[in-house]
């Protein structure tokens, strides 16, 4: 009896201890593992809560960096910036944290912060160039502007630079003057071809009817159609100027959306991290 009782007690005790270690859902290590799992599931808010609730866990640079990334993914750029800026210069993640910090600043529209002495990391320099494009500050020379880029990126940035410095705008005054000379010509100048032709035909038709009414001495109709001719003529001059404004707004919009698309394709020049592989 004693032979079996002793090993039994030993095994029971051993199991008790080992299980209490294995399934303690709230141990520091298990909570970290669970938070990592949530992060990789892209459940960033819960991952951040879990990382921050475990005492001492967020002191780790890796965790602090992941918290910053989680905030960035959630679009909370201020909290992301705060977390990235807490990573010291002796950390393995320092350069990446700098890049992510500036990415957060860039995404929150705080372009001015990119013009600091800290931005020596290549991706920071690249973002800095883009900040010039989005900001209203004067651009540097083209050479300086494209210097952080290589290969195809350099060509693309050169194109963005040219479109920003010499946008293919249409003059509102020219459009209005052209429509003053020939109704509809201003619209054709702003590439609104069908509008231009219709404006020419309608104004011409109204003018012709007014002319025939004057010739036939139709007292009411001659003034009615003269008024309509003046209305269409004046409206077309105003419409041509407005069309030039719209054209210019489209030029700006296309440049902005092309730049945003390019930045998203390049993920704002930050590297791909392997936390979830």
């Amino acid at each position: 009896m004693k032979n079996i009782l002793l090993p039994f007690l030993f095994l029971t005790l051993l199991q008790g201890i080992s299980y209490s270690q294995d399934v303690n859902l709230y141990s520091k290590e298990n909570r970290k593992q669970f938070a990592d799992y949530l992060y990789c599931q892209k459940d960033y808010l819960r991952a951040v809560n879990e990382y921050e609730e475990v005492p001492g866990l967020a002191a780790s640079d890796t965790i602090r960096f992941k918290i910053g990334l989680a905030y960035l993914k959630m679009g909370d750029y201020d909290s992301a910036s705060v977390n990235f800026s807490q990573i010291g210069s002796n950390s393995f993640f320092y350069n990446d944290a700098q890049a992510e910090f500036f990415k957060s600043q860039f995404l929150s529209g705080n372009y001015g912060s990119l013009n600091t002495e800290n931005g020596n990391y290549t991706s920071v320099k690249q973002l800095k160039s883009f900040a010039y494009l989005f900001d209203y500050e004067p651009l540097p020379s083209k050479e300086i502007f494209i210097s952080p880029f290589e290969g195809n990126e350099r060509g693309k940035l050169s194109d963005f630079y040219d479109r920003k410095t010499n946008p293919p705008y249409k003059s509102e005054l020219t459009a209005a003057l052209l429509s003053t000379i020939i109704p509809g010509l201003g619209k054709i100048y702003t590439k609104e071809y069908s509008d231009g032709i219709i404006a020419f035909l309608v104004t011409g038709l109204m003018g012709y009817i007014a002319y025939t009414d004057f010739k036939a001495n139709h007292k009411f109709r001659e003034w009615l159609f003269t008024g309509l001719t003046a209305f269409f003529y004046g409206g077309n001059i105003y419409g041509s100027a407005a069309s030039a404004q719209i054209y210019n707004a489209q030029v700006n919009f296309r440049l902005s959306s092309d730049m945003k698309l390019f930045l998203e394709e390049k993920d704002y020049f930050v590297p791909d991290y392997e936390f979830c592989k």
């Binding site: 009896m1 294995d22 399934v23």
Partner: protein, 278 residues
Amino acid sequence: MNSVNSTLIIILFAVTIIHPQNQLDEQLTKAEALYRNEEYFNSITELKRLIFFDSSKRYSYTANELIGECYEKGAKFTDALNYFARAEIAATNTDEIYNCRINTVKINILRRTTGRALSLLNALDKEPRFNGKKEEINYWKGWAYIFSDEWDKASDQFRRISKQNELGRFCDSIDNQKYSVTEAKILSFFIPGAGQIYTGNYLSGILSLGWNILWGYTTITAFQANRIFDGIMVAEFLWLRFYNGSNQNAEKFAIDKNLEISNNALIYLQNVYKGEKP
């Protein structure tokens, strides 16, 4: 001695199985309590923790299903669908599969993708293993038709459950209250303003009729006096404009009234109806 050995071995196994399971049971109980207290965010966190540590996948169905319900309560329908699909994969019997699919149907009804809800319900209807659930399937089909604003079809589904079904009678009454958009347009086509009067907009109908009589009279007298140009202008820019306006108003008023009736019916169902709802 043998019986003592056996007993000890059984106890040993019991410790092996029961001890860790209790931890996970407690976790599930905690998550369920949070769900009952309407703390859905925290409940989801604890259920996800349970799934993460449940290496035997024993709680996979329960936890995923409950996460789906939490997301549903928070109106995060896409996430809810995702977790009901996971629960269905983890389901171990027909009832669990059925429950997941009905939850998916309810989500589709709530987010008004009723075509998807109906196709899921038709698929359930065709499966022999769910033959015992016909009434319930008809019930949810009825709800899908309610949310797609087809009250007559909804009534048909509820009447299949029983001729005197409460929701069937309610859907019939709503269907009877609704205006026919085609009828309103036809009335206004023949008598301008009649469509508006049909939908209860008497003042608008009378004004419309008055304007049409005035411009119609002016047009006809112009033509009679050989003032052809004036006749064409008045007919084109005044009479036709008011005539078309009358037709368009008849259609708009009928659609607006029907929307009001449907919305009031849904509010009634939400606040007063005691039966099961999506």
